[in-house]
Amino acid sequence: MKKITILDRVLLLATGLLAAYQIVSEGEGLSSFTVGCYTVAFGTLLVAGLVLIIMGFEGLKNKAVVIVSTLIPLSLSLGLVSENASRFTWAYGIFAVVGLLLISITRYSSTGKFATIILAVVHGTAGLIIFLLPILLSVQGLKPAGYSLVGVGGALIGVGGLLLAFLRAGKPLLSERTILSILPLLLLLMTSAFLIGFSFS
């Protein structure tokens, strides 16, 4: 497995600091539930970044990585839905909880097609919401144009999450070395896009 470099650590630390800033600064005018969802998303990102800095990419060998890499987009998309399309919060919340449970169960009990399908459906749905919802809101003029950067972050998290999830699921889309080489930069770009985008909301 690729050894973590100093540059990787610096990029991950910057990601963690940005995520920490977002956790501290978010909250104005949002419901507790929405803030809770965003806190889970950025908190998972922060802790995952710290664990990677400490343990290196070896930390990604854990089966729980698939669950963690799903928790970030699921909680972020749930936060976006509750903030901007609150009437769907319950329905999407149930989808998110059931999706996370199914992924957790299939990670430890099944490695077949079913596990991969579940992973793709849950990740794909969450990724599409994070990508499309902010852009739609910006296009409709309900949010400033800069808010669409959250969608850019969504596209990046979708790419990163899928790469990691499929890597851990044993069906890598790119070589492990390539994924690990781009992962820290991808995480930093994604977090930066989220931060800048959310600052427009």
């Binding site: 956790i23 909250g27 803030v35 806190t39 950025f42 908190g43 802790v47 710290l50 400490i54």
Partner: protein, 291 residues
Amino acid sequence: MEKHKKLSKQFKTKYFPLIKSLQTGLLLITGLAGYMSARCPVHNIPVLLGLTGSLLFSISGSTALNMWYDRDIDAKMPRTSRRPLSTGETTPREALIFGLLLSLIGTGWAFLLDPLFGVVIFAGLFFDVVVYTIWLKRRTAWSIVWGGISGGMPVLAGRVLGIGRFDWIGIALALAVLFWIPTHILTFSMRYHQDYQAAGIPTFPSTYGNQTTRVIIASSSVLAALSMGLAGYGVGMTWGYLRLLAVLSAGLLVLAVSSMTKPSERITFGLFKYASVYMLSSMLLIFAGGV
């Protein structure tokens, strides 16, 4: 100039390793956080300098005295066998004088600054050197409780200096450090259990087994997180900072539980390092959140 260079080199090789700079730095930060939890932004620079100097000297002094007393067991453990007292770079007499001198300057400065602050600093030094190192460390695994109490003294001292008396927030901050110590020390003693065994030092892993030790680590992590959260609330941290503290605490708990359910050396050492990052971050949050 040549003499100055020689002295500087001598300090670097003979004395600096005696003060465990990272550990001393972390404890110093807890002391500063304790003070700033009550006095931030700081307007009294001389007091801040006095706090920093007295803590730095007394913590460094007690660490040097510990090394002086433990030089025989340090020589038996591969991890510590390259320390200057084990290699002969520093003589026991030099280490003793260095440790006593730093301790005297540190506690003396602390008493001059504020007698109550001085009492807490002296108590920390006494618990660490006399009770923990000299009396209990070689007798019982439970000695770490006293090590933990002395570890909690700098933050308590800082708080006492800030408000001029003891209060529940200072106690909660000290408890957070006390409960954090097992996570820090026990993960370390699990990793280096053979070293400790070779030196005949009783540890939790050697006395109660690894699984019991992991349960203790997880339990103490929960208590450390709760105490830190309580202290954070007490110092008036905003919800944003409290959320961040909760996130960092959750990371500590997840790693502690993982080390219990899926034990491996990698997780254990990851937890050890994360615990240090956690304490440093929490104290920085106490700084920032107290503003």
